[in-house]
């Protein structure tokens, strides 16, 4: 089996020096592909470990820690941090799977329909992030509520919300701008191709 593929190979011609350089060695490519697969797997494992470690640390130190100084509100706050990390980890895994497993072996129409969906920004995508933000919000509100004892109880909650909500909204807006710059052109292109395919 010849593992050197020359892209300019016109069966009856002898390739010139430029063409000879323009070939792909399948064995080298295979090694690269396998290394890339291993790297991706390693990266995913690394992130999984990071999330898992954070979840374990927060669970041990903030929830099940027998330290008598640790009050109930600390534990509840810790629980919400853990919930937020867990939810975020699951969300990350979902998006990672969605983007890393693009199947090019399906029909063009199907592939572009999936691409349009993948690169679309819908209200439901924002809603999907919401539980993670709510958990973080509750965790921070609980811990700060018991710290600012000199402030009126309602004001404590309002102050935390006044700080957190603009941060969340700003993050959402930055997310939108990034989507508009990177994903929207891809979605528009996919929609254009779908339109062209469906045209009789």
């Amino acid at each position: 089996m010849n593992n050197q593929i020359n892209l300019n190979s016109n069966s009856n011609r002898i390739p010139d020096s430029h063409e000879q350089n323009n070939s792909i060695d399948i064995d080298t490519l295979l090694i690269k592909l396998k290394n890339e697969d291993a790297r991706n797997l390693q990266k995913m494992k690394g992130l999984k470990r990071l999330f898992f470690t954070m979840i374990i640390i927060y669970t041990l130190f903030m929830i099940v820690n027998p330290d008598p100084d640790l009050q109930l509100h600390h534990r509840i706050s810790g629980l919400f941090y853990v919930l937020s990390f867990t939810y975020f980890a699951l969300l990350f895994r979902k998006y990672h799977n969605e983007f890393s497993k693009i199947d090019y072996s399906i029909s063009s129409l199907e592939m572009f329909k999936k691409a349009a969906e993948r690169h679309n920004l819908t209200f439901s995508r924002y809603l999907l992030v919401l539980p993670s933000l709510i958990f973080i919000d509750i965790a921070i509100t609980i811990s700060e509520y018991y710290r600012w004892t000199s402030v009126e109880p309602l004001n404590r909650i309002l102050i935390v919300q006044a700080i957190l909500l603009p941060i969340f909204i700003m993050s959402g807006f930055i997310g939108y701008l990034l989507w508009r710059k990177r994903q929207k052109p891809l979605r528009d292109r996919a929609l254009q191709i779908i339109k062209e395919l469906n045209k009789n």
Partner: protein, 170 residues
């Protein structure tokens, strides 16, 4: 058979087809090489999804066409369809206009310009037509119905003929 062996075998059996697709859609030798590599990467990634529902060659064509359609990125409207003057299939495709089965250089240049003015999908379909795939196979690759493929091919042929004919009378 191991994954590597399946990959090598698939590539080896279909390298000519993949190379032709690259030559159709990538303008330079360097781009052809990049596109070829990209197609091989996607074959590698999709290897486990092959269930034998279609022929291996159709499956490879799907990956090659989808990769080339995705390859152009934001510049997809500028995607070219490069046809070799020696390609007899293009002459057969427009047979009634060129009875002697010969395309003169200037005619070929004009034809090349018209081919590049086709929509991205029409270029993809033309590439498959020039590779002598049947309407059914093209439908399977592109994902539209067979009658729709025939309509599109008929329209492309008519447009090209009319454009070439119109210019011949000028």
């Amino acid at each position: 058979m191991s994954r590597e062996e399946r990959f090598k075998r698939t590539v080896d059996e279909n390298k000519e087809k993949i190379m032709r697709i690259c030559r159709y859609y990538a303008p330079s030798a360097e781009d052809q090489k990049d596109m070829y590599q990209e197609i091989l990467i996607n074959i590698w990634k999709s290897l486990d999804s092959f269930r034998g529902d279609s022929k291996v060659s159709t499956w490879v064509y799907r990956i090659a066409v989808n990769t080339s359609l995705s390859y152009a990125g934001k510049q997809y409207k500028l995607m070219k369809l490069n046809v070799d003057i020696e390609n007899t299939n293009i002459k057969n495709f427009l047979s009634t206009e060129f009875n002697d089965n010969m395309l003169k250089d200037d005619q070929f240049q004009r034809l090349q310009t018209h081919l590049n003015q086709l929509s991205v999908i029409d270029k993809a379909i033309m590439g498959l037509v020039l590779d002598e795939l049947t309407s059914k196979e093209i439908a399977d690759i592109i994902g539209i119905t067979e009658p729709n493929v025939r309509i599109k091919i008929h329209r492309i042929k008519e447009n090209l003929r009319n454009q070439m004919k119109g210019e011949n009378y000028e």
